[in-house]
Symmetry: D2
Subunit: 261 residues, 4 copies
């Protein structure tokens, strides 16, 4: 029935499954990682076919994961590419797209007392197959803070600071090696200060003083990330968005920018 001609002949751009959660493994630099991502997998659909065989999409995911016992996937994007290749054996498409939303835990040490701490970030990893060519889209969401340099000047050394979130997204060829960890570092360094899960008294003092040494608007943070990413990641479309949860307002402020490298 899915293969029959539809009543209304209109091509569709993205048809598939979303919100599927399952267990996947990768082995990045020899170390095993486990994730329970939320997965979206969609295909374009010709105006001549009524529907997508959804179970073949799910099967392509589960078979690629089972295969991991023998074939190690270095990264989520490698696993995603295998899934898209497997879909092609089961279902026709011109363009297909897979997205995994998950969390990445990275090791850090606290700034003053040098204690070890683990920091967790939301990451979004996509591979797109378009007319046989593979592209990827990598996105990280990093928590930090912003501070108002204008208020600092007006109020003689004090200002409103607050939690901020920054999203960095790069779209590039599948082969372009870009580590999520590097993306996270660029964003962390653009905030007035990095934030940490664990902070002893001396660490807290360090973080507070850093916040007031260089308070930054969301505009400053966004520009800094755009600039660093442009220099380091070549042949990319780059998008940055910073949102600040203002401590003096009920609403948020936002700054967004794009560039190409």
């Amino acid at each position: 029935m899915q293969d029959s001609k539809p009543e209304i002949m209109e091509a569709l751009s993205r048809v598939g499954i979303t919100g599927l959660r399952t267990l996947v493994k990768t082995s990045w630099n020899g170390k095993e990682y486990k994730f329970i991502p939320e997965i979206e997998l969609t295909l374009d659909l010709s105006k001549k076919r009524r529907g997508v065989h959804m179970s073949r999409l799910v099967e392509s995911i589960t078979e690629s994961i089972e295969e991991e016992v023998e074939v190690k996937h270095e990264s989520l994007e490698e696993l995603e590419r295998h899934i898209l290749e497997r879909v092609r054996e089961k279902h026709p498409y011109k363009k297909a797209e897979i997205l995994m939303k998950t969390q990445l835990v990275v090791d850090r040490e606290t700034p003053a007392t040098k204690k070890s701490t683990m920091e967790t970030h939301d990451v979004f990893v996509s591979v797109i197959s378009d007319n046989g060519k593979f592209r990827k889209r990598l996105k990280v969401k990093v928590v930090g803070n912003s501070g108002c340099p204008h208020a600092l000047k007006k109020s003689d050394g004090i200002s409103h600071v607050q939690r901020a979130e920054c999203f960095l997204e790069v779209i590039t060829d599948y082969e372009n090696r870009i580590a999520l960890e590097d993306m996270i570092v660029f964003v962390e360094s653009a905030f007035p200060s990095e934030v940490y899960t664990l902070l002893k008294v001396e660490d807290e003092k360090y973080v507070v003083e850093k916040m007031f040494e260089r308070p930054r608007f969301v505009e400053d943070i966004t520009r800094d990330v755009l600039n660093k990413a442009k220099k380091k990641f070549k042949c990319c479309e780059i998008r940055v968005k910073t949102i600040s949860q203002e401590s003096i307002h009920r609403h948020d402020v936002v700054a967004e920018g794009f560039c190409r490298s």
Copy 2:
């Protein structure tokens, strides 16, 4: 079928509808208010009846709203009481409960330049009918800020401040007159500073300086609200919860307390 004996005879405490959104009107102090609340309406169910006639619950809501053309409801709780009374004519229950989640907009003026501004708060209004006796539960969620007095001391006049949210809930007899607006004022005054939608430069300076004059832990804010509410609202169960979106951490901190007045 709903009236038949169920296979498994087990009484249930809350059966009904949730997430229903509709338009309701009230006329508080002669002024008309319109709300589009999200409504939950549940009844207890005897172990001898298989199910609740859900359409009678919806009908009780829609009929009470239509009736507004003639009968003015002074408040959301008055409307809710009418709905629970109407349900009783259609469906047996010992205990019934209705909740409306909506927003309340209050007028303020900015602290320095005295401009008028409107501030929007989430409010949660419930009426409970228990063995013929009516009780109500009123809750407000107010946005403000917190600041760390400990860091202020360690770092010589600077500290981390951040957005915070405080929930104040009172449970009391239906007849006990308590205004949501008064509840909001108590919470606002417990934060280091009130926050505003509109702030000109002089207002911002005022708010920032106030935040640093009396930085407060979530524990301080929660105690202050508990204390004020206890003195002002008699014969109530009072619950307060404050959550601070730390500007130096990825996680939040929380302080919660209860008392009776």
Copy 3:
């Protein structure tokens, strides 16, 4: 300080405020409507200016709302256009964009017993000012259902049905008159059946039978809406997305399409 040259000279595309909630009124066809939308208002920012004066954005919103006492806004988009015009008097921009997310309540009657019922939909109304030209983006989210025609065939008259949501978005010139109510009707008619807040036994029977008379994939629903919108709304970019909360899976299925009219 916002007017000074930034350290990193990079133009930004969208800088402003988001998540601001306030009370607005419109008078559509002589009837007064009140909304408490969530508002986002952003400007592009030249690479030569460090920041946006956020308080001027808020002021443009509050002043346009106060003005309502004298100037009636026929629609949310008219109010939004006034806000963008007012921003221009206070702040330079090439491109500005305002979005209001809110709810629209429409009157319906139940299909069999003809009782009156109110149905609430999420709506998203934007106006964009781009080099002096105004465009608008209107979006509705409508709840309905989907059903599997393939399972119906395999299982002899029964099938899995489930709740589905469909988003219809049109982007067009500001002057192009398109009613949100019409957009909602197109989506409602593409589902196997409309859904209602109130359904008496005979109405429920009607809705159930309609669902099984023409079960539809998300692909069918999306194509139907695209097709109807294309015929009715001229000179538009049209986007449609349907998501079905499968009753036989933990995940959802999705179908998305675009066209121009």
Copy 4:
């Protein structure tokens, strides 16, 4: 400063951190599991102490996790108990509570074609230390479906079915061995049919037919789970809540019950 006397002397019931995400490992039945839970850890606070030393709570979590290299934690509740014991060495409390929200992936096979599939469930695991005595609270959220037996009768073999979610929670002594997997099985078996991530045509037919063989109200599902849990899990407080995302309405229906075993 946290140890000083507060201005307002009011005891607080729950003070601590929330929304902290980190990597934890367990080894249940000899198999290693990794989780990235969202953690909440709170203590009661005497009216004589101004605040909780939040960094000691974080430290108790990170040290207990580092310790895992040597000490294997069989389960999340064992890890949680160790964390609460470690907190006690650093901070006074009478009552402390830790909650981890995470996902559990369980292996299943499809009902007709017997293919292997992985199913992911939200789980909530708490340990409470109260005056030296440990209790625990285990909760699972399982996705399935509901169907209306009343409509089935009225419409001659067809009915509305839809996705439903059921929460089963048990509160019991720490030592009472209860497996989350068993809790999940009880809920799955109470729905008209289990749902699966992967379903081939024959499996889908099986699931659809099972849904229509025994359509069940949310009341039926809730009672079934209560009843099974009461028989199997001794010395527990048991809470069950089922929510059905009605395919004929915009709103949901809900049934909730409690019992003791």
